[in-house]
Symmetry: C2
Subunit: 67 residues, 2 copies
DNA sequence: AGCAAAAGTGCACTGTATTGCACTTTTAAA
DNA sequence: TTTAAAAGTGCAATACAGTGCACTTTTGCT
């Protein structure tokens, strides 16, 4: 499961639209759409802005841990 | 602690140079240097390439977990 | 089914990440 | 302490991420 899907699922949990997420995070709507649909290659800052609004954070962890 | 520092620390654990990490990951040396020194705003793919070589992965998790 | 809202996409422009090169600074080993 | 290897940095070129706009497709509600 890629990062975009995780963002999308989490956003739906909050019952907000891509447009609202874009506004709240300060990221362009087009960028949010691309991120969620798995297109493109966002920068860390873009991903962090979006994740932050959704109460999530980007972390680097040792590989192959369950969940 | 930012992502660059985590990469740097992890790399030192493996006793390899930035140059070796760059070669192994397929990322430019200049980019590795910027990443580790906290300059710039890498893309997910760049960070994933480097993390992969170091046996790490980028994950999105619910915020405010310990560690 | 009908329809409005939400999501996905092609295009084009702007800004910036990636990169190599050449150089300086720092580190660590003899 | 010397000094070679490793790390940090300014500059410039290229590739591509971020974005708005206009449009199509999908979703989900009545």
């Amino acid at each position: 499961m890629h990062l975009g899907s995780i963002v999308k699922e989490r956003r739906k949990l909050f019952n907000i639209t891509q447009e609202t997420l874009a506004e709240m995070s300060g990221v362009g709507l087009r960028t949010v759409k691309q991120l969620e649909s798995g297109k493109g290659n966002p920068t860390i800052i873009t991903l962090e802005k979006v994740a932050d609004v959704l109460g999530m954070q980007l972390v680097l962890q040792i590989k192959s841990m369950n969940q």
